[in-house]
Every structure is written in C-alpha cells, then in structure tokens.
C-alpha cells in the first residue's frame, strides 16, 4: 500500500503513508479488541468506529471538492490542478459514502433489526451517493480539460448543498437514525472514555488516510491527463508529417 516506488509518491506521502498504516492497525486493535462493549448493543457498537469516520471523510471529501471547484471558478487561479483535486476528492468521497452505507446497514440489522429503512438520514445519504456517482460520470463525458473542469465545478457547488440536508435530516424529520453523538452543538458527549477515544482515533486515522489518498489520486489523474494530451500531440504531429510528405 503506501510507500514503494510509485510515480505519484514523494517523501512526504511515504512518511504519511507509514504513519497512516500504523494508525490503521492501532484502530483495528482498539476497535475490535481493546474498546469496551456497550451495555445495550454489546459488541455491535464496534461497527461505529469505521461507520462514523467513513461518513466524516465523505463529508470532508465533498466539501473539499466544492472548495477547490469554487477556487477554480473564481478565476483567480485557473490551474487544472484544482479540477484534479476536486475529481480525486469526490471519487474518494463516493468510496467512503459506500462504506458508510454498507457498514451502517450491517449495524442497522443488528440494532434496529432491519438492513434498510426509507427514513430521512438513510434516504438522504443514498441520494448523496447517487449524486456524486453522477458527478463522476459527468467528469467523464469528454470534451477539453477546461470544459470538464468548468462543468464539474458548477455541479460540485450544487451537490455540496446536500450535505447539511443529510446531516440535519435526523433533526428535521423524525428518524430511526440516532442524532449525531459527537458532532452536535451540545457539549455533553454521551460516550464513555475508551469508546470516545476509539471513535476519535478512527476519525483521525481516516482523515490521514483521506489526505494520503487525495495526494496520490490527484497526481495519478495528472498523469492520466498528461497521457491524454500527449495522445493528441502525437496525433497532430503524425498528420503534420503526412501533410508535409505529400
């Protein structure tokens, strides 16, 4: 995984990669073994340590996509690098929403007694997932890099508006899903010591993982773009030579 001689790696990403890997192992040990069981849920609460950090990373990813898209559209800096960060971040966000939906569904089966309910939080998260699948597809529709950047940046700014809707859906509509345990405005955190620590460990680990992934993925998209534009250059060169030969 992290490290080794990848074309998208640097010294910084290698260091971050090693640290992230160590934190991931730490999280697995704490999540599955060290942390205590919940009085009501028992071991089932352990799913929280991957479920909550996953949706957290997805929020961060889509927010980053929106911010860099706004920077690109603002016109002060029209570097295509912004667009690639947006694309990389959204792609990773989609992966983490998917993880969150699946782990949440497993958790729901054990606590609520059902894999899925069409309730506000679950429905809006599913909608968020579909929206960003659409965003990624729109990125692949073709055209020039500038057209892609502009088109997807506008979409990213619209799509990010769904995040507050998802997050506050449990407050707006009556829902089966519990309200946020940590990320709420109140100061009374209702998690016991080691559980809270493990959850924060999860959030920190997943955030580092996200940073590492975005750095690599946006560079790999840069390589892809470079190949695409060289492909065009080669074609033009080929035809110029043909024309001269005639």
């Amino acid at each position: 995984m992290p490290g080794t001689s990848t074309p998208t790696g640097t010294r910084a990403t290698r260091v971050l990669g090693v640290v992230t890997l160590a934190f991931s192992l730490w999280l697995i040990v704490f999540g599955l073994v060290v942390s205590a069981e919940d009085v009501v849920q028992g071991s089932t609460v352990r799913i929280m340590y991957v479920h909550v950090p996953s949706i957290w990373v997805a929020y961060v990813a889509f927010a980053l996509t929106a911010v860099v898209s706004a920077v690109y559209l603002s016109g002060k800096n029209r570097s295509l690098a912004w667009d690639r960060v947006a694309g990389a971040s959204a792609e990773i966000g989609v992966l983490f929403v998917a993880i969150s939906l699946v782990t949440g569904s497993l958790w729901g089966r054990l606590t609520w007694g059902t894999y899925w309910v069409w309730d506000a939080r679950l429905t809006s998260t599913a909608f968020l997932f579909i929206t960003y699948i659409g965003y990624l597809a729109v990125r692949g529709l073709g055209g020039t890099f500038r057209q892609r950047a502009r088109r997807s940046a506008v979409l990213a700014l619209l799509a990010v508006l769904e995040i507050p809707l998802v997050h506050f859906s449990v407050v707006i509509w009556r829902s089966l899903h519990q309200e946020s345990t940590v990320a709420n405005s109140g100061t009374d955190v209702e998690l016991d010591g080691l559980m809270l620590f493990t959850l924060f460990l999860g959030i920190v680990t997943f955030t580092m993982l996200f940073v590492w992934m975005v750095l690599h993925r946006q560079r790999s998209l840069a390589l892809q773009d470079a190949v695409d534009s060289h492909g065009l250059d080669v074609a033009i060169e080929q035809r110029r030579q043909e024309a001269e030969a005639r």
């Binding site: 697995i28 089932t44 782990t103």
Partner: protein
Amino acid sequence: MEHATFIIGSYVLTFGSIATYIAWFLRRSRAIDKFLDEKDKPWT
C-alpha cells in the same frame, strides 16, 4: 464476540475496499508512467 461475522465483516469490507481502490489507481499510474517524462510530474 457476538455477531462476529457482521462486525469483523464490516472492518474487512472497509479496509478491503480502500486497499483495493488504492491498488487499482496506483497500478494504473505505474502503467501509464512509462509514456511520460519527468516534466509531467512536477511533484518529483
């Protein structure tokens, strides 16, 4: 552990899918890297 399949399964799914995704794009980067020069990689 009660419900070990679900709990361990959710960890395997989480880290497994992340690792698969990372492996996919790193492999793809390596594959196209041979068509490119150092100037295409300003971070190096």
